[in-house]
Amino acid sequence: MIEIRNIYKSFEQKAVLKNISKVFNKGETNLIIGRSGSGKTVLLKAIVGLHEVDKGQILYDGRDFTSMSQKLRKKLRQEMGMVFQGGALFDSLTVEENVRFPLDMFSELTTAEKQKQVDFCLERVNISNANQLYPSEISGGMQKRVAIARAIVLNPKYLFCDEPNSGLDPETSMVIDELIHSITVDLQITTIINTHDMNSVMEIGDNILFISEGEMCWEGNRKEILHAENQKLQEFVFANKQYQRIRDDKIEENK
């Protein structure tokens, strides 16, 4: 479980996050949604400490990350995995070396044990026969999957994904969403995902935080989102005609 309390963050004079609080649950896919530029990436990077917050608290299962020393933070980071928007695979390393990298850096496993764990993770994300390829030689969808494999190789307690299906076709997006969701449930991870994709919201939105211009506007889950009264949320959700239709159909049904 991750809890954030009254997070503020600004760059120079520009306030990007304004008083955001939320509890993200274990074993669930927690979503941060909002338009591009609303502050999702900054919030996610603030939660993991890549941006220092100006004010507020971040608690990892009760452990206060904001007041932690660098040394303890580094330790806690070994419990985190993160999938960046572009995948952020190391382009000088092969697929297999990318996934093995955290093990090489932090584990005392033997070569054979590492290999087993790497194979297990690559299998988990359905990658085979690509072990020796470089990131530039595989498709965007595969890069994302390799990034997920690398993020889970140290058995993290916390998983962060920044727009995991941006730039992917709808079908691949769904595969990635389902993958993240099943990993989250199977391994009982606290997962936080940034997205502006309504399909993802409806598929895996267990627990949703909607932000707009850096302010929290609404929270709930995928069942509630289509009926929410919030004006800004409605604009966001129903920017997609299809969801307008779904809503209108439902209203018809209920009559």
Binding site: F90, M105, F106
Partner: protein
């Protein structure tokens, strides 16, 4: 003000670079990679540049040596001292700042803008140290070797060009190369090389590590890195020459 700010950030980055590594074996592996990538792969271009530098210097010394009373072996001596004192250290450093330096800036810079550096940080790796320390060690170690290599090929360049234009015989040239040799000149230049190597690797890395934006910004950071490295090389050349000679 901006210069002060940048300098402060540069030293802050160096502090991060020189902190304790997570796992020595990985750093050692990286260092060997960098020695190969930044050092060994530079020998070819250094050989070519040095042969030309040596050849041209020899021509110029010969051209200026119009007084027939002066012995022609001075051509060999002149080429030797020019190479040892300045060309194979400073001029080579300026050229290497372009080759190695822009390579370092663009590699680290593109890792920055594609979030690979964030990726290291989130794993709990000290990205500055992991990416930059092996490069600094590799360049500082390889630069003195490249220097010696360059002097050698510069002398060969002179030995080819001098006799070819009929300015000096090979025997006289080689006599000149050995005449009144002052080993301290080499020591002085080797010290310069260590400093230049450090400047090239650390300044280029700094410009790469602090890039914000996209591919375009990586390109302009590379340019700024080369310009700033060159200026620092010349300033330190002046300082060290005053101190050491």
């Amino acid at each position: 003000m901006n210069i002060l700010n940048q300098t402060g950030k540069y030293f802050a980055l160096l502090l991060k670079v020189f902190s304790k590594p997570e796992k020595h074996s990985l750093y050692v592996r990286q260092t060997f990679n960098e020695i190969d990538n930044l050092g060994v792969k530079s020998f070819g271009i250094v050989a070519v540049i040095s042969i030309f530098m040596g050849g041209i210097t020899t021509l110029q010394v010969a051209y200026n040596l119009t007084n027939p009373l002066l012995p022609t072996y001075l051509i060999g001596l002149g080429n030797r001292d020019t190479l040892i004192l300045e060309f194979s250290s400073t001029i080579l450093a300026l050229i290497m700042a372009g080759k190695i330096g822009s390579n370092i800036t663009s590699e680290i810079g593109s890792m920055k803008v594609t979030e690979q550096i964030d990726s290291l940080e989130i794993m709990g790796v000290n990205s500055a140290s992991y990416l930059i320390l092996p490069k600094i060690i590799a360049v500082v170690m390889m630069f003195p070797l490249l220097y010696i290599f360059s002097v050698f090929f510069g002398l060969i360049g002179g030995m080819i060009v001098g006799p070819a234009v009929g300015a000096v015989t090979v025997t006289d040239y080689l006599n000149g190369v050995q005449y009144l040799f002052n080993p301290y000149y080499v020591t002085y230049s080797l010290i310069k090389c260590l400093v230049f190597g450090f400047l090239i690797a650390s300044i280029s890395a700094f410009f790469g590590y602090t890039v914000e934006g996209g591919a375009f910004d990586v390109g302009s950071a590379s340019t700024r890195a080369v310009v700033n490295t060159n200026i620092m090389i010349l300033i330190w050349d002046l300082i060290l020459t005053q101190l050491l000679l």
